[in-house]
């Protein structure tokens, strides 16, 4: 009989590589790294063909920041699929609870009985609105300088993580409201692409006059969804770790 910890240790030791294999692998990795470094130095730089193209067509993209132009206009297909990847992971991690019990409701509930540490409460009162404001700024500034939907979503999700860690707020991901928020980004993106297809005949090639506005609409919806999905990933994984053993079957 051995304890759980010893059991884990034995399991871990059994999977470890023998020393000579570790040294051999270290040697192979060093050779690989040197070869990669050599290839980077020797090959030099190819002519920046795509950079020139992107700069040339920047006028037609509706935004002034070339990275945003590539992300949401020239290669918006990538961004569409990327939001779909996030949504798929969110669905995988989402707990299989029935959604009809809660119905449409606020998906963030505050348990009033739990009294917060006053310092923590004051910090949250300042930090959360500030993070949302910074997120909005990052979203808006993405059109002109570094920033955009993903950066904004990450900052807003950070505010949610702070709320979640403080322990007073619980995010109810099985409510309809939460599901709408999670899906919003992908669905708005697809709606824009489809309506564009009906009106102009091309799915993701925006008309020059409306490109800026369409990009902003897509980015706002994407920001909301990205923030919600990142927060969902955090809170659900945390709930899985925190849950008592017997209830986790």
């Amino acid at each position: 009989m051995f304890t759980k910890l010893e059991f884990r240790k034995r399991e871990a030791n059994r999977r470890e590589l023998p020393p000579f294999a570790v040294y051999a692998l270290g040697f192979v990795v060093i050779v690989l790294s040197v070869a990669l470094m050599f290839s980077v130095v020797v090959s030099g730089k190819a002519a920046p063909k795509l950079a020139g193209l992107a700069a040339e067509k920047l006028e037609a993209s509706g935004v002034e920041n070339p990275v945003t132009a590539v992300l949401l206009n020239f290669r918006s297909y990538d961004t569409l699929l990327e939001i779909a990847v996030l949504l798929i992971v969110a669905i995988a991690v989402l707990p299989a609870r029935s959604s009809n019990a809660a119905g449409v409701a606020h998906f963030c509930s505050a348990d009033k009985q739990d009294v917060l540490n006053p310092v923590l409460a004051a910090l949250l009162r300042w930090l959360v609105p500030l993070a949302i404001l910074v997120g909005g700024y990052l979203l808006w500034t993405g059109a002109y300088s570094p920033g955009g939907a993903f950066q904004a979503g990450a900052v807003i999700a950070g505010a949610g993580v702070a709320l979640s860690l403080a322990g007073r707020h619980e995010f109810l991901w099985h409510t309809t409201a939460a599901r709408i928020v999670i899906n919003l980004g992908l669905f708005v993106f697809i709606a824009v692409a489809l309506s564009n297809a009906l009106l102009t005949g091309t799915t993701l090639q925006y008309p020059v006059d409306y490109a800026g506005m369409l990009i902003l609409v897509v980015e706002i919806a994407a920001t909301v969804s990205i923030a919600a999905i990142l927060l969902l990933l955090f809170t659900e994984l945390k709930a899985m770790v925190d849950a008592p053993r017997e209830g986790r079957q």
Partner: protein, 98 residues
Amino acid sequence: MTQDLLYNATGIALFGIGVFGAIVAAHIIRKLIALNIMGIGVFMVLLATARHGEITDPVPHAMVLTGIVVAVAGTALCLWLTLRIRLLDDVNEGDPQR
């Protein structure tokens, strides 16, 4: 040029450390961290190659931005799977024949 070289060298070193760690580490979470370090190395090399003197190529930047988000999603999925494996391990723990 030296700055580019520094970025490339750091990126490649991180990639090497990640490859080594992902194979050698016994624990799944350590493997996951090593894979993430590997990815960061690739991102650094991509960012370094995006610089062409005066002009910056926006395409690798957009790729890195997309890559970061996909890496976060992949890491979350791996963590979830790790927790599921832990859970099944706990169920089977009493069985020494495993």
